[in-house]
């Protein structure tokens, strides 16, 4: 970790705007006084399921909770393995450990496609494999059709970590509907945010019933419920989700046009992919290792622009190195040392975006 200044950025990585209509929707809940899971949670679940085109949506306290319940429903327990990408937030793997299972890490495709590599996944399938998790990085589709076919053939559960990808698509089908279950995040920096929240989507009646039962503590000691104020906020924001994503796409296309002219930068995914992505973040990949920290520091310290790193590789975290030493995933490790996530939020202005681009160009030139 690099030393940093402690100066708040004038241009943040994400900027959540809550509109008066959102506040009104939540105020109605507070005035009513029934804050525990009830009719608003049910209404949000129905609306989300319809928007996604799946049979069941189960609102939860977080995406971590959704992943945990998905693995549990898939029967993951002690001795079982789940193949997961390492290029993800740690929850994708942590939730396997909650079940007593073992995460087995797969590499990514490469700097142009940050999804889990289906060939590597296939090679890792063994007698103890119970499930495969695919992350739709940044809202761009992982190769879920191929993974779904593999899982069907091998009798495995495909869990889609769709934390980044509400309303994103592959072909004409929404992400999160290709597998056994899809896990969504409503964390505050996400495309559809409520603070802390998540959701499990599935077409399987048994999986949905399992999740509904296990989100309350009597079943297994877990409290993964969402409450009414958060559901009201999500219901209000869901109505604007497509508009927000449309704004993100305009910004991403503009980023891509201008970044194409910049030497030393790889822009993952193809221009055509933007149309179907939820455009959660704007990742770029530096073509040299060893510049990532300096570029990020220059952008922050000289231009007060916040960037991020999606992600440090999970298998390289202290907690994982201690438990699972000796793992080598060259493409993931290189990405973790070259990726820079640029600011992106629906109401970002062209002027702000140009500031980011100018700062990046300067940082790369120095």
């Amino acid at each position: 970790m690099t030393a940093v200044t402690g100066t708040p950025p004038s241009l943040p990585l994400f900027d959540l705007r809550v509109l008066p209509e959102d506040v009104e929707a939540v105020e109605a809940v507070y005035r009513d006084g029934r804050l525990g899971m009830g009719e608003r949670v049910a209404a949000f679940e129905a609306a989300f399921a319809e928007q996604l085109g799946c049979r069941h949506a189960v609102a939860l306290s977080s995406c971590t909770a959704a992943l945990h319940l998905a693995y549990l429903a898939a029967g993951v327990g002690p001795g079982d393995e789940v193949i997961v990408p390492s290029m993800t937030f740690a929850a994708t793997a942590n939730a396997v450990l909650y079940c007593g299972g073992t995460p087995v890490f797969a590499d990514i495709v490469g700097p142009h496609d940050l999804s889990v590599d289906p060939d590597h996944v296939e090679a890792l399938v063994g007698p103890r494999t119970k499930a495969v998790a695919a992350v739709h990085f940044g809202g761009y589709a992982a190769p879920v059709e191929r993974l779904a076919a593999l899982c069907a053939r091998e009798g495995l559960a495909l869990v889609e970590d769709a934390a980044h990808a509400p309303s994103a698509q592959l072909g004409d089908r929404k992400l999160g509907t290709f597998g056994f279950a899809g896990a969504f995040s409503f964390f505050s920096n996400k495309v559809l945010p409520c603070g802390e929240g998540g959701l499990l989507a599935t077409d399987d009646d048994t999986v949905a019933a399992h999740a509904r039962k296990h989100r309350s503590p009597a079943a297994a000691g877990l409290n993964y419920r969402m409450d009414e104020p958060r559901a009201a906020l999500l219901l209000s924001r869901l109505a604007r989700l497509e508009d927000d994503i449309a704004l993100r796409r305009v910004l991403v296309r503009r980023y891509r046009e201008r970044l194409a002219q910049l030497d030393g930068v790889i822009v993952p995914y193809r221009d055509d992919d933007v149309e179907l992505s939820s455009c959660y973040v704007m990742p770029i990949v530096l073509d040299e290792v060893g510049r990532q920290s300096a570029v990020r520091r220059a952008m922050r310290e000289r231009h007060a622009i916040q960037t991020s790193l999606l992600y440090p590789a999970v298998h390289e975290f202290t907690a994982y190195r201690e438990r699972f030493p000796g793992i080598s995933l060259p493409r993931t490790e290189r990405l973790a040392r070259t990726e820079v996530t640029l600011p992106l939020f629906p109401h970002m202005t062209d002027v702000e975006q140009d500031r980011v681009l100018a700062a990046l160009a300067e940082a790369l030139a120095s």
Binding site: M1, D15, G33, S62, N94, N223, D227, T318
Partner: protein
């Protein structure tokens, strides 16, 4: 649950700010809770269940170690030793009318912690338990998921005598915010452990990175997402202001209903609730199961939810099982939410 203007304003102010994940309002809530409860560390978490889970992990209840729980405890406390990766030893209660378990006596080799439940807001003798736990090298976890607002015989708030106290801020609880919880402790190491594990054992959180205090993070243990968010923290802070007044209302409501019992029914703690109780529910014990079912039916007919003691693992505990079969539990939070007054409930009880 009726929120006042200050409470609604606080929550909506946090929402309107646009900063929703753990930040300044969590810090303010934790400071306010620590001050009110007279403890060094108060850590906001997503639920009382999360609080007890984290407390058991921090107490080392895993890998062959166990924790003792009462047979009559909420599912949060009943499950926590298992969700943390250890075993649970279930202690039966000693009396149907005073349904408290001697959790210390039930300790066995391998016991790392005992969980003392302040059932329905009736304070357990946590001060004596703490002294005994210290003498035996056990961790005392106070299950105060029902007991925010309750005080011990020595005047200290319930939850603050143990090594860790685990509160719930669920809807219907005193100080409730929808879903929420709190872990309190005097111990710096336990606090650091809980604080780390509530947010995936990450070495920095989003708020730190937003303010430029960190630019990446390591993950040093297998943690969880047990974070509370800012609107709930703002609401929780505002709700603490009314805690004393609401506790008094609960005491009055419980007294009114307890005084109304008909023949064949006795209120639990028949000699009277301790003065420090913050009643979350009123427990009425019938002479037999049929009498209990008749009382429950009368209440249900008037839209008063009539449950019994929680006890997911109570079947193997004979006195607890009998207590569950003979007790009607009237949740005062549910009574408030349904807009029923204590007087109405008391009338139904008296006529049953």
């Amino acid at each position: 649950m009726k929120l006042d203007e200050a409470e609604v304003d606080a929550a909506l102010g946090a929402l309107s700010s646009g900063w929703l994940t753990m930040g300044p309002r969590i810090q303010a809530f934790e400071a306010a809770a620590a001050e009110r409860l007279g403890v060094t560390h108060a850590l906001a978490v997503s639920s009382g269940t999360a609080a007890l889970h984290l407390a058991c992990v921090a107490a080392g209840v895993r890998g062959g170690r166990n924790a003792v729980t009462s047979a009559l405890a909420g599912p949060e406390a009943a499950w926590a030793p298992r969700t943390s990766g250890g075993d649970a030893v279930v202690a039966d209660v000693s009396d149907v009318l005073v349904p408290v378990a001697d959790v210390l006596r039930a300790a066995v080799p391998g016991t790392a912690a005992v969980i003392a439940s302040h059932l329905t807001g009736v304070p357990a003798d946590a001060a004596a338990l703490r002294a005994a736990c210290d003498a035996r090298g056990l961790v005392l976890i106070e299950d105060v998921t029902d007991a925010l607002g309750a005080t011990l015989a020595d005047g200290r708030p319930a939850g603050c005598a143990g090594h860790m106290g685990c509160f719930s801020l669920a809807d219907g609880r005193l100080g409730g915010v929808g879903e929420g919880g709190l872990v309190v402790t005097e111990d710096d190491e336990l606090a650091a452990r809980v604080k780390s594990l509530r947010s995936h054992a990450m070495t920095s959180v989003t708020w730190d990175r937003h303010r430029g205090h960190a630019d990446s993070y390591d993950i040093v243990d297998i943690g969880f997402n047990y974070r509370m968010d800012e609107p709930r923290a703002a609401l929780a802070t505002a709700r603490l202001e009314r805690l004393e007044a609401l506790t008094k209302e609960r005491r009055a409501a419980a007294a009114e209903i307890r005084a109304a019992v008909p023949a064949g029914v006795t209120p639990a703690w028949p000699d009277g609730l301790p003065t420090g109780a913050a009643p979350q529910a009123v427990a009425l014990v019938a002479s037999d199961e049929a009498r209990r079912d008749a009382l429950a039916a009368a209440l249900e007919a008037h839209d008063v939810a009539a449950g019994t003691w929680p006890g997911v693992f109570a079947d193997a505990a004979p006195i607890a099982a009998e207590a569950r079969a003979r007790t009607v539990l009237i949740d005062l939070g549910a009574v408030e939410t349904a807009g029923l007054g204590a007087a109405t409930v008391a009338r139904v009880v008296a006529g049953a």
